[in-house]
Symmetry: C2
Subunit: 436 residues, 2 copies
Amino acid sequence: MVNGFDPNNMDGLDAALQDKIRKRRELLGPAYRLMYAEPVQISRGLGTKMWDAQGNEYLDAYNNVVSVGHCNPRVVEAVHRQMQTLCTHTRYVQDGILEFAAEIIPTFGAPIEHIMFTCTGSEANDLALRIAMHQTGRKGIIITSEAYTGNSFLTAGLSPSLGKNSPLGTWVRRIPAPDSYRVPPAQIAELLVRQVAHEIAELERRGEGIAAFIADSLFSSDGIYANPTNILQPITEFVHKAGGVVIADEVQAGFGRSGDRLWGFQRHGQTPDIVTMGKPMGNGFPVAAVAVRREVIERFGNEMRYFNTFGGNTVAIAAAKATFDVIRDDGLQQNAAHIGALIQNGLREIAAGDDRIGDVRGAGLYIAVEFVKNKATKEPDATTALAVVDELRKRRVLISATGYHANCLKIRPPLVFSESDVDRLLTQTRAVLSSI
Amino acid sequence: MVNGFDPNNMDGLDAALQDKIRKRRELLGPAYRLMYAEPVQISRGLGTKMWDAQGNEYLDAYNNVVSVGHCNPRVVEAVHRQMQTLCTHTRYVQDGILEFAAEIIPTFGAPIEHIMFTCTGSEANDLALRIAMHQTGRKGIIITSEAYTGNSFLTAGLSPSLGKNSPLGTWVRRIPAPDSYRVPPAQIAELLVRQVAHEIAELERRGEGIAAFIADSLFSSDGIYANPTNILQPITEFVHKAGGVVIADEVQAGFGRSGDRLWGFQRHGQTPDIVTMGKPMGNGFPVAAVAVRREVIERFGNEMRYFNTFGGNTVAIAAAKATFDVIRDDGLQQNAAHIGALIQNGLREIAAGDDRIGDVRGAGLYIAVEFVKNKATKEPDATTALAVVDELRKRRVLISATGYHANCLKIRPPLVFSESDVDRLLTQTRAVLSSI
């Protein structure tokens, strides 16, 4: 795991923290991971700030889930009001879910007509793929090289970024990430379409055929490639011709994060059949969803059924509606565009005077800074990237790292990030870079 | 689906309800189902009561999720307090998750040592099976005839109760449900162990081998067979000898519902390797978990990792802790035993004078009433069972139906069901049975 704490490196941590880390291992077992060389203990959050048990303030430039800010009062209040009134499932008729569905569906644009609720992005992608497989009667799925689609059996099998011990499904084929730093941007679309064509031919040759192509338009776990935006629609058209279903995974890019548009796929002028969403949807309350074209869900819906006990329950809907309303009312997509540009500009200024930074890229509040050993060879430099992450953490600014080589900073703050937060982030980044 | 509303039967429903049902179909698509011939619109809940938009009160004898009662104030308050303080994930160190883990782990009994958090029971079962497959390096899974294990790709493939259009995994083998009404109870354990042996041999013959046996100790979707309780341990021992992992699915039976013990597997003196739990865990807040023996998670944990964005987040833990504390402090397992016995006794009295009722069975607050056309032939009678469900719904008492033949009433109220609730349930049941 990129930026994971190594439990063999406990030395130098304070004794109370060591004790808690040992308790975690004892109680939660070996599959849990912490972030940073020195893990952070957080006990309170508000807006873009978090505080540890000792009262130290941290600037949160990492957590996309609390998109409208830690403990956003409108979301807290909406959840509380609904918790006091009714918390129940979708097998009773309720107004709230219909009102929210009617509000969100038009934002996807025709021909997406329906929305179904799950609790997590993993469940949303798992369901989307089940629908695609049922609809097409086929199994093959195409993803990008280092995609992450979820933690269920099916989606973990489609998540190469989980590492080489996590087996990929035998029906999964990979195309390269659109590495705009190493491949001339004008050539990427053609290259990827050609690769998709090849993988579809391979799937057909094996009798599996193409059920679905699924991608996150920011290619987050591949290393964050927000541009060019002419890639996904040609792939979509090719997959459609081959009879496959196209899934836009908006778990990372959705809900205004890209700044340009509410949904990441719209930056590519893409016409997906299914849109999945999760993480920021309820500002931390577990709620996620699958939006889908009528023709694509019809067979699944009529021959099967889908019920998710907590998915779209009355409280989940209250959280999602409040979060969505705040994004719109407070202009957070526009803020993501504005603040994201300030961050990228600041980072580019820093990069201009720093040979270790090969690339600064992203869209809105999803930004990568790629470290290289040499700007000519572009050899990845994970050591420096991770050092920057850990030094920033010492200065109480939280970001993380990403990419196959773990050599990219991942900057992905709540959408309510302010100009003064940008100053603090850039000031501390400058200080760190001059200190290491 | 048992007790599902048929959208082709809209006639006779009031116009406003018809309109909302049409809107649901339009917005949520064809995969959603409603309950009852006349769907219920619920707008408020408290304790064991729910109210519709017109202010009519319903007795809830169905919803196991709100196990400590609709809108339980301790849970509402705990969630609110935590929502105002911090809602974040498990990659930071937190005290709450460690305190709750330390509280719940001992209740499983040795050698279960660790607990991992997910959002839904489906995710818990999916993860448990991934762990079992990784640990054993095998694929085969044995379930009971009409099991329901979840809605993910993997668990839906292990859920014959989803109906014949939902494909079972090719690596899934089924054993009969322990039908204590049709098979002499003394013979069931031996019969099932023999069948498990046969299925393991078949799996091995196919090179798949046995990864896991998974069962819900109340066999809820099979038709609710709470007794005899000498079945699961002999199966467990056999599966262990064959190198398989044994999973106790406590999504239905757990958290005191059986009345006898906190966990259903304990009624069978069973020694599972993994215990999964979900539905009532947060009284409606999405939280679920996998508790596991150290040796069974070790390989998975060291070679892979597991992260669930919302799973075990600070608010989910607050909900789970409050719910668990209420179950203990208010003696709800004991209440389930006491009230469950009152219901079963009352139903047996009714059954003694009613030729249509073949069997009354269950444990604690999970009770089945099986309808037959003839007590000698035991031919299932779904028509009467569904008529009882719908007539009770007209009298504002909510239960449902279950079983392969859909001929069993499913009575499964919140654990806070009171003696006067029992009176109302029995009085209305008597009235319905004499009216149809």
